[in-house]
Symmetry: C2
Subunit: 405 residues, 2 copies
């Protein structure tokens, strides 16, 4: 049971009941479409008369549309309702260290258009670039009503000020993206950390999380990020700085991390860690004296995955080591938070068949006293969880639970 937050709460007015039921009906239509009014009454437990009133409202507001008639063995045929995919568009922006993607989707979070461009290293130049592109993107679709813009960032975002606090792989600090984008487009803008966006994407759009109210999304790339959802809601912590499990130290005397701490989880299980390890063990075999590691000589994580798929013993070793340390970190998450599901996002999911048994072994070894109830699965990367998650930020406003009490 939730404690009432007496510092910021909403009392109920005469319209509160409608607000609650409207959101329930709208979310039911979203997830069960096509669906009839009678179905909605059965699913929700509301009276058919109430459902009719609510759907009439949703129809006039163009949130939904009426479709074909259904088929039944007996009786009057039901008229199916759908989300009105043409009503509105949501823009998702996925900022990554090298590339930035802008995408337009309908209310079903199906992509309609997208474009990508190089991410400029300078934050100010980038913002100018992005806002200009967003403006022309919007102009290019004059017939669409835009609900808002969601932005996923590779770094820590303050949940109150909505500023980017720090993005290590971009080298940006204290950047305000929300204000310039809002000013340039006049739309609602939400900024969120990439791991949090992935967690949202999973819970809002992935069937595998059906009915789950808690899960953790682990993004494995240059570093490791964790987006945590508990009780159906993002865990943000004091000013949005939760989710830095990637910087929990697994070994006090381990290698020095960018964050200044030693032996962080991401020093063992990130792509960067795998690349460094691969360079270390191949150099050790080929030429011990080549101690200056040229950046351009380093393989990419995709190279290593490709080599391991072809049976290269050292690449396999590196990937398996990465799997092992992913398992170590997961065991921490399972002990402490015990989510229903952990979703892994990143290139490493390509090698899932190889690392899954390793992860399971580590978990069983490290959690001997209790069965592991957490499902650990790879993300379906083609679904673009970062982009879809940034869209969920906007969709939530209409489809999420109302804020009462």
């Amino acid at each position: 049971m939730r404690k009432i937050d007496l510092t910021s709460f909403n009392v109920a007015t005469s319209e509160t009941a409608r607000n609650i039921n409207r959101r329930i009906i709208l979310d039911l239509i979203r997830t069960r479409q096509p669906v009839s009014r009678a179905d909605l009454a059965r699913l929700s437990g509301l009276q058919r008369s109430t459902v009719s009133l609510i759907t009439e409202q949703l129809l006039t507001e163009q949130w939904i549309t009426q479709g074909a008639l259904g088929h039944l063995p007996r009786g009057r045929k039901p008229r199916f309702l759908h989300l009105n995919v043409e009503r509105a568009g949501i823009i998702g922006v996925n900022v990554r260290p090298t590339m930035t993607t802008i995408a337009l989707a309908n209310l079903n979070a199906q992509f309609i258009a997208h474009e990508s461009f190089q991410t400029n290293n300078d934050a100010n130049v980038f913002i100018e670039d992005l806002t200009r592109r967003l403006q022309s993107f919007i102009k290019f679709h004059p017939d669409i009503y835009f609900e808002g813009i969601g932005v996923s960032m590779p770094g820590r975002v303050d949940s109150i000020s909505k500023k980017l606090v720090f993005a290590p792989n971009l080298g940006w600090r204290d950047v305000d993206l929300q204000t310039p984008i809002e000013r340039a487009t006049g739309l609602l803008v939400e900024i969120e950390n990439a791991a949090n966006a992935c967690a949202l994407a999973e819970i809002w759009f992935d069937r595998r999380s059906n009915g789950m109210q808690d899960l953790i999304a682990v993004t494995v790339s240059e570093g490791i990020g964790t987006g945590i959802i508990t009780n159906g809601q993002l865990l943000r912590g004091a000013s949005g700085t939760a989710g830095e499990f990637g910087h929990v130290s697994l070994n006090e005397s381990g290698p020095l991390c960018k964050c200044g701490n030693h032996g962080c989880w991401e020093m063992y299980a990130s792509n960067t860690a795998a690349i460094n390890e691969y360079v270390r063990i191949t150099n050790g075999a080929n030429s011990k004296k080549r101690d200056i590691q040229d950046e351009s000589n380093k393989p990419s994580i995709d190279d290593i995955l490709h080599l391991s798929e072809q049976g290269d013993a050292k690449a396999v070793e590196v990937i398996e080591r990465m799997g092992h340390y992913l398992g170590v970190g997961f065991s921490m998450l399972v002990s402490g938070i015990s989510p229903s599901m952990i979703v892994v996002i990143g290139e490493i999911t390509r090698a899932w068949e190889r690392i899954e048994p390793i992860i399971k072994n580590v978990l069983n070894a490290r959690l001997p006293s209790s069965p592991v109830l957490t499902r650990i699965i790879p993300s379906q990367d083609n679904l673009q969880p970062r982009l879809r998650g940034s869209m969920a930020l906007i969709l939530q406003k209409h489809f999420g639970a109302p804020l009462t009490a």
Copy 2:
């Protein structure tokens, strides 16, 4: 924003608005008493007429009482409202490995009566003992209407079946306390893990958590437990097994823990760890051959704290080591969850002045890239957080936010 849980949700009826506002008013009276109707209207934002209707209902149901008149420089004097402390009693039960305490409190969670007895090692004998004592406890207060019984347990409690899954320090497994107590007393019974109960006590009754919606309670005793509150609500995880941060491994090759894993946090920072360490370093000095450690010869944590207060160098060393490792674990919690507050419960809080700077140093060393926003404070142990938390389990039902959508 919370996602609507379509597997179990509540639609709004015509009474939902009243339910919401009633709980807001009742919680405002609880926290701000004495308070007038006009104050409530200002605090809640509801109309004075609405507040009058709600308070009238609360008065007839005897949840609240009218008290004295207030004083104002001008105008009609307000009539103060209070919680009706005589309306109802809540029974809290705190089960610990050696002793069990039963306490009766009023709606303000002020203790009226309490009794303690030895905890029987045999679960069945214990249940019989407890239910008999509860029955006579209730008979002894025939004029009180009991709201329910909350039980705090030193072990893992399944949040769905409400069974005790495992209590290592009692050696109990799969014990159902709820059903026999409900049967014996006819009252609502809630069972919860001790750390979770402490977290609830903190958020419901401690002024220091005013306005906070997230905190972690860390119980330091034989082991280490973590009760986590996020978004104003207990984090339970898959079937209530969250909060086992005490069994996260800090060192893969550390000492073997009861749980079967190596180098768990509680192997370094619990009372047991401190006692073992003290025995190790004193034996090392006195007689290296005395390798059989007689249980009865071991000092208690209170002994060690007492010695350290008197300046015993080895006791001080052990306490400072414990402080260091508490800091190590806290840095994990701050990285991953970043709660507004961490509250420490246990005998170690007696040495707070000594260990606080050590903990702060560890946190600053391990979280170099961002300021630590989390306040770390000792619990006020005389407030009996375990007992009060078990009472909060029952109070929540009436004072918590309603379950809508």
